[in-house]
């Protein structure tokens, strides 16, 4: 187990370097320059300011030198300062937003799993039943629904028409004047719509995958054996089949993590939630170099770590993986 973990860890290191490299290259090879904002070409003072900027951020040095310096600073966790007027360190900016995105995605994942597993199991054990048909239709619609559109519709319905739920931010204006429990409810009610939207698409995918996985497992010999032993159907499905059907789900969960996090960009933007996604969109509009690079590096590193954890969890649950990995390499 330890050997396997160490091997996975060793494989992750070059990926980490690769992440910094791609983040750097993507931003530096793009034709536009971060200091070319708007029509500043006509104004001589703008030109001077631009040259000062170029100097300050060492954008006139050769690329490999810039990359080297940037990398050295990254090792010391120095992501530089934002280009935005506030000029705050990038790490601070990201630090206050990261927990929001993490919590949102964590809640999403828990909801998705706790709904998708029973849905998948039920539609697999009752293949071609009415329930199965309904969920299949739901899955296809879920796949095809643009999340921002769903968000807009829900905002019209619950926010504008019915006025039941708040549609932006995480707290109401009068937050400070509310009692403790009212504050909690206020926070929760701000989360309902964004999380609802974000789970919708993922739920479709996972329940579909759970169904497939379950359909395969139910046909296995050991399930037949369990039935033949005279075990109750509940035990056969709930214990023998479910455990095995859950295995691929762990992998898929790891693989779909970038998708989930990427999805939070639009949701955070629409619902004005101060998370990483919103920061990313703002930075893109403002051409805020350091924030964009820092964001890319941190988000992808987190994904890498999460994938690693998923892999390790997987191998801890399923000894076949460890043995197989040793034999293959």
């Amino acid at each position: 187990m330890l050997v396997y973990a160490l091997r996975r860890l060793a494989l992750a290191v070059p990926l980490l370097v690769g992440i910094t490299f791609v983040s750097f290259v993507v931003l530096h090879l793009a034709p536009g320059s971060p200091v070319e904002i708007g029509g500043g070409d006509l104004d001589p003072s703008a030109k001077e300011a631009r040259e000062a900027l170029v100097k300050a951020f060492e954008l006139d040095k050769p690329l490999h030198e810039q990359y080297g310096k940037w990398l050295l600073r990254l090792v010391r966790l120095d992501f530089g300062r934002s280009f935005a007027p506030d000029g705050r360190p990038v790490l601070d900016k990201i630090g206050e937003r990261l927990p929001v995105t993490l919590v949102l995605n964590l809640i999403e994942m828990i909801i998705i799993l706790s709904l998708a597993v029973p849905i998948g199991v039920l539609s697999a054990t009752r293949q071609y039943s009415t329930f199965d048909t309904i969920t299949t239709v739901f899955v296809f619609v879920g796949f095809a629904t643009p999340d921002f559109w769903l968000a807009l519709l829900l905002m019209i319905l619950f926010g504008a028409q019915l006025g039941w739920l708040p549609i932006s931010g995480l707290r109401s204006m009068n937050w400070e004047y509310l009692s403790f429990w009212q504050q909690q409810w206020d926070f929760l009610s701000h989360l309902i719509l964004p999380i609802g939207v974000a789970t919708f698409g993922g739920l479709a995918g996972f329940s579909r995958y759970m169904r497939q996985s379950m359909l395969e497992v139910v046909r296995q010999d050991y399930v037949q054996t369990a039935r033949a032993k005279g075990l109750a159907e509940r035990v056969v499905i709930g214990k023998h089949a479910l455990r095995n059907a859950m295995l691929p789900i762990v992998t898929i969960l790891g693989l779909s993590l970038p998708t989930l996090i990427g999805g939070s960009v639009i949701v955070e933007w629409i619902f004005a939630i101060p998370g990483m996604g919103q920061l990313m969109v703002q930075a893109a509009f403002e051409r805020d170099y350091p924030v964009l690079m820092g964001n890319l590096v941190i988000v992808s590193t987190l994904t890498l770590v999460a994938n690693l954890l998923a892999d390790l969890a997987y191998s801890a649950v399923d000894p076949r993986i460890r043995v197989g990995a040793r034999r293959r390499r």
Partner: protein, 267 residues
Amino acid sequence: MVACLAALAILAPRIAPWDPNRPDVKKILDPPSARHVLGTDQLGRDVLARMLYGSRVSLAVGFVSVGIATVIGLVLGAAAGYRGGLLDAAIMRLVDLMLVFPRFFLLLAVLAFLTPSIWTIMVVIGLTGWMGVARLVRAEFLALREREFVLWSQSIGASEFRIVWRHILPNAMAPVLVAMTLGIPAAILTESGLSFLGLGVQPPHATWGQILNEGKDAIELAWWLSVYPGLAILVTVLSYNLLGEGIRDALDPRLRQSGRRFVTRRA
């Protein structure tokens, strides 16, 4: 369905009842009526006409970006699968690397510095979407290169290019075709998402995401600006997904169990 949508897009200039970019101050935010079937927007432009033109952009972006992604994926996947060894390891690490980046974050970072046009959107979506195809093609090549007909052509001295192009590739195309069909709706969703954020195709080009973006500001006044374009995206994506499923089942029953669709789904 798919054919109908394509026909609508191609015929857009002929069937559109109004000029999609002609503003009309007297008809700002008109609700759907007999004259403007789906209503008008903030500048008095006809929503139906704009949506018809928007479908051209969406479909074009879908096809071209998937084309780019498929070519990259085919070349890299084939090289990795056929040659194996160090090249294979290098390409697969590159795939792993690209898969670690949440696609939307990567797209935003790139688009921040490019002047957005239909072409940059196509290229950028294509460049961030080839990993799935590369993996598929590599897996097919790994399996096929050991088969008798390949060994046989190698033994009679056929050139490497010929073996790959004429013998292996045609046999590896089935899953690629499915991946392409399912990649188009994914690209359309991505494009509309980007346009919705205002970082995609720029006005005055009408795209579905663009109309939704503009409609967002008038959401309490004009529901038709928000409902119809989204519905158009939903129907388009749904029909391509169903087509992809259909092709999958028809070409190769073994693929029915695959859950790849989910992984490649969204940005």
